[in-house]
Amino acid sequence: MPKITLHTLEIDNPSQVQASLDSLSGMVLRWAITQLEPMTLEVVVLQ
């Protein structure tokens, strides 16, 4: 059964956002950079 889950990823700079999103399997519903040090991406995924 599909579920919606939160993933927290560290990136080096904003140009890595798309690659990080692409690395997740499933459909990205929501994402944002929420911290700068370390630069952190919060992603909500349906998978």
């Binding site: 059964m1 944002a32 929420t34 700068l36 349906l46």
Partner: protein
């Protein structure tokens, strides 16, 4: 001259000083709308439980649809009205009668078209997750049952969907929020639930908690008072969806539809520039007005290498919009004015 079109964003679940509580972003939204021909914003900026105040030139656009709009994938098609269906989480099925009374009240008093209510076959099991950043997010155990209910309502003619789920959270999760000091614990999961439905069906949707609003002891923070004086969270969502623009794939856009190319400016809190609308508008090259509206985040545009026009508050942001609208150079409005 084409309409001066502005996008206002106050991201959900971040405890924004303006717009982080219960419809307390509405006055500043009205102000920005007065400085625009068309203002596009999202439910979090306006939803106030039993109340919703929205100017006629303000478009109520769900966040996932807003993301697709700014990224150039979807257009917005203004409508005179939508037929709204209501989805109720099976785990709050005892609220069915109460929500039907709300729906009938809005049909009878506001002329809103509401076509029915569907209870999910199983509990949705949506729960709050507070991320390390302080942002409120969420997870959902059974999204499929929500999608199944949505599909049934759409098959019966629904053009927009109001979603009412039970949100599971720790007992003391909203302790700071009800004191007017923290992020709304359910803000993030509410956005996720509507994102799910909009992403699957490409129709307007918004979420309101299914349960009864909390009953305060004494006088509450004014920013929260809309939740303390109502019988249901649902009315604002029904009022917002009533005339929410529909989503159209960009390849099917026609004259009169709005696309991201129509945007003239973005207004957003300076502390949360790490989201989709801000990045997309940066790439579009439109003026970005960064307002000093504190949130739990500190993701400022300067640290992301994004140029913005800073504004100390929404009064200044509205002035900046008026200057942009009228073609008045911002530097000529400030002193000292340097010589050429």
């Amino acid at each position: 001259m084409r309409p001066f079109t502005v996008l206002q964003v106050i991201p959900t679940g971040l405890g924004a000083e303006w717009g982080g509580y219960a419809g307390d972003g509405a006055p500043v939204t009205h102000l920005l709308a007065a400085a625009s021909d068309v203002l596009i914003t999202h439910p979090n900026a306006l939803n106030a439980a039993g109340l919703l105040h929205k100017t006629p030139n303000t478009l109520y656009v769900e966040g996932y649809g807003l993301d697709r709009f700014v990224e150039g994938e979807w257009a917005l098609r203004p409508v005179r009205s939508n037929r709204i269906g209501i989805i109720l989480d099976a785990s709050a099925s005892e609220m069915r009668t109460s929500l039907l009374n709300v729906a009938n009240a809005l049909r009878a008093s506001a002329g809103i078209s509401i076509m029915g209510l569907e209870v999910t076959e199983e509990p949705v099991n949506a729960r709050v997750v507070v991320a390390a950043s302080g942002a409120t997010q969420g997870e959902v155990e059974n999204p499929q049952t929500l999608l199944d209910a949505a599909e049934k309502l759409i098959a019966r003619g629904a053009e927009a969907l109001a979603i009412a789920c039970q949100i599971h959270q720790d007992e003391d999760a909203d302790e700071a929020y009800v004191q007017g000091q923290g992020a709304d614990p359910i803000g993030g999961i509410e956005a996720i639930l509507s994102h799910l439905v909009v992403s699957r069906f490409q129709i307007p949707a918004a979420h309101a908690p299914a349960e009864l609003p909390w009953l305060p002891e004494g006088v509450v923070d004014p920013r929260l008072a809309a939740e303390a004086c109502t019988h249901s969270y649902l009315p604002c969502v029904l009022m917002g969806l009533h005339q929410a623009p529909r989503f159209v794939p960009i390849s099917e856009a026609r004259p009169g539809d709005l696309t991201c190319r129509d945007l003239d400016a973005l207004v957003a809190p300076a502390s949360c520039f790490g989201g989709v609308p801000m990045r997309a508008c940066h790439l579009l090259g439109i003026p970005l007005i960064a307002v000093d509206n504190p949130t739990v985040l500190s993701v400022t545009p300067d640290k992301l290498g994004i140029d913005t026009i800073p504004a100390r508050d929404y009064l200044e942001a509205a002035g900046i919009l008026l200057a942009l609208k009228e073609g008045i150079s911002l530097e000529t409005l400030r002193r000292p004015l340097s010589s050429l």
